[in-house]
Symmetry: C2
Subunit: 242 residues, 2 copies
Amino acid sequence: MNTSKPTLYTCLSPSLLHLYEVQDAIVVVIDVFRATSTIAAALYNGAEKIIPVDSVSGAIELGQELGAITAGERDGKIAPGLQHGNSPLEYPRSFVEGKTLVLTTTNGTRLLHMALRNGATEVITGSFANLSAVCNHLIASGRNVILGCAAWKDRVNMEDSLFAGAVVARVREHFQIFCDASLAAETLYRHTQVDTWNFIKKTTHYHRLASYGLEKDMEWCISVDVANVLPVYKEGALVVHS
Amino acid sequence: MNTSKPTLYTCLSPSLLHLYEVQDAIVVVIDVFRATSTIAAALYNGAEKIIPVDSVSGAIELGQELGAITAGERDGKIAPGLQHGNSPLEYPRSFVEGKTLVLTTTNGTRLLHMALRNGATEVITGSFANLSAVCNHLIASGRNVILGCAAWKDRVNMEDSLFAGAVVARVREHFQIFCDASLAAETLYRHTQVDTWNFIKKTTHYHRLASYGLEKDMEWCISVDVANVLPVYKEGALVVHS
């Protein structure tokens, strides 16, 4: 094992984050359905910044203060008091360019704030929509990495694990990876990538979101490099890495 | 979905156990390398009972009180003050028949006690060595099931996940399974079962145990039905289910 390489770990649930050394690492927040896909979409389409907020009331308050777009869902519907939903397809360039988006989501926002509180060196967000941007950045950085899956109410979920696996498959040779969660994620990804969409249909989140009519959203969210920017958290907001 | 079927969930780490309704369920404690393999081996070879204990000092004390065999390892060696190790191969019938074994292990014992504290209806232990006995019992019971992986210091590990997947693959039709961890475990198992041993060689625990010269142990631990009894926890000890 080449000990000069940085380490990479996959954390499959926020409830396991305390097991990893966040303080020295880049944390990739992964919430494929749909927070980190929507973040990639909005920034790719020219949004100036995205402010992640834990609560609906916090989003309403900050949105009014900044005159920003407020967005967020609870149970697949726009949360009362907010203007927009959590679909990446709601944020075309014609709507979002130059704007600030205040976004609240259940799982992704929480993990992002946990990573910050634990002293992560850098927090970026990842989804299939920006797979290459994430991988290229991790390889170039030369720093330790934690792939942090947002999961669903702390339960391990498939789509976030699969994205972690896609990253591991691409960056493996550049890191020391002594982590069964990374091996599991990569193995799942390699064996299902020939037909990711049909495999996704077996997952719990597919069934939850399909019951709200969100198949199109999910198809977009597992499409590779369709919004290939690198969102990085700086001074309270996610912006395109410069 | 047939709602009359009992539910099955896979819990990939003790740190996630709080997310599941343990109280109404049979919990299968899974610690393939090596606690639950050794438990199966000793009971299969006629041990009267196995008392799982959290600490080395507790094992020494109880062993003296009962005149029992004491066993347990720390870092791959017999723990100071104990008589025997944590290898399933150390417990042939000629040695263990009719005896009481006081066993302390790092991960498996802890999860077993967590399940009991959380009010599990029944706690059984599983490993490849008793795969069929576990599956047959789960199917016959008609109760909700949690497959509890002991993991390694709370980090998700491959061998316990693979065993959970082997169980899911066999019992799936008898349960409602709405759980991505179960889907992940089953998918990993199905795609690696043609050559489990070579896949196991990629895992973290393989490298840890191989460095102590324990390849033979591990090969035994992933062999199906070589000690096909059902250990169940009753009145403070694991005994063969009657």
